[in-house]
Symmetry: C2
Subunit: 242 residues, 2 copies
């Protein structure tokens, strides 16, 4: 079984349509390529109780939880306090973080430095050589900033720890509508119940109408399922196989 | 109080990173412009139990729930059955939908037509003149397709029913980091506790470092809060106001 993950995106700016979330699409692509199965994405407002409830539920249910956003110094940055609340841990000043912010933010108010150095008790700092500020890990929760460039840099620095056996996939493009092949897809799944089979109609594409995706962690299983699908489909309706 | 909404996005293709969800950003922008407050977005897999649980929870908590995806004829299209399950209603064949599919899909298998005409008991068809297939409404749940062109067309046809008093906003762009103005934002919120105040750092922008957004349904409140913010900020750090 693949490890599972949830992504909790924090930010009023996403919900009000001012900013389009690019972090969860990035994490979905990266985690899939690492062999991890993302099972849930949730966007919640900058609200301590809402974040805490969602993080707590996801931490119980999935192997990994990734949060993005709400980690800065302003009034709307409540993610770290919310993770502490959700995981029922006190917020404590972390000596290494305190030292970091004493250096970087020497001219800022003491209350701000203290806020930035306060994390849930038991937090581990994932301090890779390439990162000036570490990724925070509390149990199975990994806390990332919302700024895409920073999130991407931080994820790249720690991603190898999540790698497992990859997914293998084939894509079959067909020229007929979904409704005329639905029964063939049912038949394929009856023979290959473990197959991850997707059927995606595309409007206005010149050379196909539906993209079928076949995936599994077993490359032989995918190859056999794909061969069987091509035997089930009328050859004239297959535009291409990739 | 603004009406609240949740968006439930259904689709393995989003979670596996194969497709980027453009429907929830579209709905967030549209609903904000209509004066509706989106409070939650959730992406769940093509799994009946997961969809049912999320739809039921959102229908209890928010004024409106919008689902996208999983309404076609194939094995992975389980949204409508899941909404029925979540709202504890039987799936029943709707005579008007049955007649529509008898016409449009005369050459398709009877089992498929029956699947497409089966909806939760009590479903209303929102059949605008511009739509060949209606939007389905069950209680406060509105069911949309996942194909962006179809979703946008269907939403445009029914959106006026959601309109209420608009949000009013100002944007202030500042040239200093968030950490040096955090205490001023706290002071502003102490005076204007109902203000929706966002603080968004931007990396690598040539003429500002932080975008501040001030919003409310009361235009006078926003104007007064903006004037107060500009009095609190050192004038040299304000790049522009919009």
């Amino acid at each position: 079984m693949a490890k599972t993950a949830a992504i909790v995106v924090i930010g009023n700016e996403i919900l009000s349509g001012k900013v389009t979330d690019t972090n969860s699409p990035f994490l979905c692509r990266e985690l899939r390529a690492l062999g991890v199965d993302v099972r849930r994405i949730v966007v919640v407002p900058d609200d301590l109780a809402a974040i805490a409830e969602e993080v707590a539920a996801c931490a119980r249910t999935y192997d990994y939880v990734f949060t993005t956003g709400g980690v800065g110094p302003t009034h709307d940055d409540v993610t770290i306090a919310a993770v502490a609340h959700g995981l029922q841990r006190p917020l404590v000043v972390h000596p290494e973080l305190q030292a970091l912010f004493e250096t970087h933010w020497a001219d800022r108010p003491e209350t701000l430095r203290r806020k930035m150095a306060s994390v849930p008790a038991g937090t581990q700092l994932l301090l890779e050589p390439s990162l000036p500020i570490p990724v925070l890990q509390v149990d199975n929760v990994y806390i990332f900033p919302g700024i895409p460039q920073l999130l991407q840099r931080k994820f790249a620095a720690i991603k190898e720890r999540f790698r497992e056996s990859p997914y293998w996939g084939r894509e079959v493009y067909v020229t007929v509508p979904e409704s005329s092949i639905a029964h063939l897809l049912e038949a394929l799944l009856a023979e290959f119940p473990e197959l991850q089979l997707g059927s995606y109609p595309q409007l206005g594409h010149p050379d196909y109408r539906v993209k079928l995706t076949l995936e599994s962690k077993d490359p032989d299983y995918v190859a056999r399922a794909c061969a069987r699908l091509l035997a089930l489909l009328p050859p004239s309706c297959v535009a291409r196989v990739e």
